[in-house]
Symmetry: D2
Subunit: 320 residues, 4 copies
């Protein structure tokens, strides 16, 4: 498929709305990227694979591709062969790794996106050098990854790290997963927006203008911006979501006792505005806080490219 010259490893992140491919060097830096839209869940599998191929080819350019790591927003089986199910993509029990390896003629590694991002943060990012790492990503919902004793932990069904669906409120908010009171209902971009929506018209806030008086137009980034501009309601929203973040992190630390906790995802762009209340809640809530080293709660450093960086690196490691 690709010709001689430069030799590259490529990582590609397949999300619900877009495919992002990138050349990743051996220090975890992304050299050039290519973007395609994801055609959605109700299309032929082939169309997504075409989008993937286009993105990878554009990123590769003239270079020789030594291997590709694919980070997919879905459940990948423990062997890294199949996508079992993906909420926003058409695959179901689909042998994607082999399909792509055959189509592209190069070694392919398939990994869950949060797990790939965890590998990247532990190798090149916020958790470099740590053996036991919990990664929590706050987007629309909560995703998660685990590095334990230096190895990525995927679990029996490849479904480990579903932290967002741990129940934190009995009889709580209904979740799309069918459960009630899931953590991601209280600490996520959606929770941030809901907190503000419930208070529009009651509390004065610049967000009223930002969404033109229409609560439906409100977005997480608006709340982040408003908080940065000193808006009190936006500030409280981050206090609230950050407090819930810390409560859930305390649960994970009680279970895993990791070296550090890394917080990624779009909501984490708010930085300490989100992380400080989380740290306070962790310290307040964690069992035996006085008798242990409380693990640092760190912002992810690789940003939205963490998944593709991790996938490319896993492909490179597998080759060796």
């Amino acid at each position: 498929m690709w010709r001689v010259g430069e030799q590259v490893w490529i990582g590609v992140d397949v999300g619900g709305t877009k495919v992002l491919a990138g050349v990743v060097d051996d220090e975890g830096r992304v050299r050039r990227t290519a973007l395609r839209r994801t055609p959605g869940r109700r299309v032929d599998v082939r169309m997504v694979e075409d989008a993937l191929t286009e993105a990878v080819e554009e990123a590769a350019g003239d270079a020789e591709v030594l291997g590709v790591g694919v980070a997919a927003a879905g459940f990948v089986d423990a062997d890294g062969e199949r996508v079992m199910f993906a909420p926003h993509l058409p695959w179901e029990d689909s042998p994607l790794r082999e399909v792509l390896a055959d189509r592209w003629g190069v070694p392919v590694v398939l990994e869950n996106d949060a797990t790939a991002a965890t590998h990247a943060e532990a190798t090149y990012g916020a958790a470099r050098g740590a053996r036991d790492v919990v990664v929590v990503t706050l987007g629309t919902g909560i995703g998660g990854g685990l590095l334990l004793d230096g190895c990525l932990h995927r679990g029996r069904n490849g479904m480990a790290g579903e932290f967002g669906h741990m129940q934190v409120v009995p009889g709580g908010l209904a979740c799309e997963c069918g459960g009630y009171g899931c953590w991601e209902q209280y600490s996520s971009g959606s929770a941030l927006v809901r907190f503000v929506r419930e208070r529009l018209g009651i509390r004065p806030t610049v967000l009223e203008d930002m969404c033109q008086g229409n609560p439906a137009l409100l977005t997480g980034p608006m709340v982040t911006d408003a908080a940065g501009d000193g808006d009190l309601l936006a500030h409280e929203a981050f206090q609230h979501v950050g407090d819930w973040l810390g409560v859930g992190v305390a649960n994970l630390v009680a279970a895993f006792d990791p070296d550090c906790v890394v917080i990624g995802g779009g909501v984490s762009a708010a930085g300490d505005r989100l992380l400080d209340p989380a740290r306070t809640a962790l310290e307040r809530t964690l069992v035996g806080a006085a008798r242990r080293e409380i693990p640092p709660v760190l912002p992810a450093t690789l940003g939205p490219g963490a998944g593709l960086v991790g996938a490319a690196d896993l492909a490179r490691q597998t080759r060796r």
Copy 2:
């Protein structure tokens, strides 16, 4: 210290009220045991070490001791050298492994008791052959252990597995740990007894007689016995505690995706009376239940000796 003849590995479990030592053969069977009372938390460390030594010597008899595994009810550092803290024993940041190895002149391995029990259940017991195992022990509170990718997971401070202090009810019951709404407040022997106490005098029950009308005399084993005799209130108590058990187990499965979950501890003597409602709650609560294999929830099979069996086996493995 010990002379020739039979060659044995010994395990010893040091709890808050007693020391139990036993010779453990290479199929995980306990051949003979010796029991001593634990002198308590407010005594000289030396007294506990004397009790340990007496129990080990009595269990050993004339045999040559090849090594001893010590399972301690406290926080053991990640290197297995020190007891950092134990709620019911006098050690604090104490280099117990070296002290005992010097005193006894044989190799000693030191491990947290729940971790040792997890190793035993995974090697000889309910979870034999599994790679990813969550062990939950229900006694007065909740203890826990983790086998992940075939290795015991101890965590940075040796404090992994503190499942009982994961918060399941925000603003919930105050816990001795200083937290609120900890899981063990809702699913444990204490929770079982509290459920009944709150209903004495309101619902008819044989437990009224069993505790001679004095709620303070009520114990967990009484509730187990009453349930076995068909008492409706006792039955409901197990339904309630079992339901909460399943909710917490669902959280752990969401995070770890293990091969199986093993339930031990005194309350687990109730068997399916406890485990069936837990399984129902797990199936109802677990994220993606329809798209995954739900791990079996199994009763521990090694009983109260699991800790010493696991410790002895860890000592044997270390030697090899």
Copy 3:
């Protein structure tokens, strides 16, 4: 409008799906009734008033109508003149009392349906002779009425008695009212059905067949029937909903300290199957239970006609 001969008082209950009119004698008995469908919320107000008129005329027959009491499923202002808002009917800030009195040429009394039912139960039904009565009706949601010191309590906006929207679970289930964790999400016909739905396919139950394997077809009366046939899951559903009923009733008793609590609505057809767990929960939860007379929790006795009986009686009283 109506001619001489027999002289009657008529009550009419206007609900979301039907209008039920009836002649009510001076002992609170319903002598003959007439039924019409309610045309729904998105029709002209006139159409509902036509349906009302037809039902009243049919019920009246040849008799002379002395007055009509109208019990409406909506917010009626404190003066009994206007329907401010009704979730399932087209009125909004509508001077319904005057409109109907003009149209029919007889005295008309307008009352909220739950308040009318409360008057009926206190005058002819379960709470006869009591001065302080709390009425809780369990249908799709929860409705409520209050008789305090012998008088119906309507509140400043005619909105007293909205017990169903008292929050019992912080961060709980989203409610149609916009709130979270409202009582009616946990104790109502909807809650009963949800409890069963979540367990279909996990627990064996005759309800699986009754709804032909389709959880969407499940109804409250099916659960009532199944419980009557000894189905264990249906039994548990009533235990659960009844327990939550008792918790909420305990809150109301703490606030009002009434002579008795009357439980009506469709779900109350289950009788003691619902009320016994509610009584147990009340006794367990109520403040100072040991130092007070705990008010009896009684089934409503007037059934679905309570609203029209109460409205007719209020019309009769007003005349006097």
Copy 4:
């Protein structure tokens, strides 16, 4: 007992730690007061009655006493004759009204202190002119009183208004009443202090110095002072307690639909710092907030003398 000259009505408030008597004029003003310590719960009833008598005599001075109203911190039966039980006073099922009337030779009226305060606030204070009033007093716990349709509502056992023991968190904090998750555990002086204690050493605050580093020395008034000085943690404590206040008030408004809600007790000294978050929470939480007049949440205006003012006024009214 008292001789000619000036003619006065006296009110006396009997609390757990002190007796406060005062002459109350016919505009609800306290003219002169007298204070005695309450001897406590474990003394002879006679000693408390002596303290009461001394306080009343000192307040009366040379004036002729026309009658005395006694406001007691305990359960008073619905007839106003007996103190059934008082947590901090020695009476149990004691015919206090008659005992005092006989001893003093003047008409005596006996009332629960919160009910007396409610009467005072509705007659001379924050709720003057209202027909339906809910009074909530935040001290160590929560007390409450109800004026409905212009009449004080006492309930069957004289126990209405126990708002503090309405359950707001299922499985929540254990309460001294034996219940769990009672409102006063989350919104009261105790809750205010607990919020701060849990965060001492984690968040910087002047309260650290104010309590000399000893959390046990922390008091509610310290938190009020610190908040007034701009301390951020103290501010958050009032936000938290005020939010919970509003949630509970929303429950009461849903049930009663009153003209106004009056907040009294020591914690209410913080004024809008407490009441603003409560109003926000009320507006956010109350059912049908967009379709009703939301009742104002007002600070009590009569202060700690409200109970004796109300009792004196009830005595004066009874005479007429």
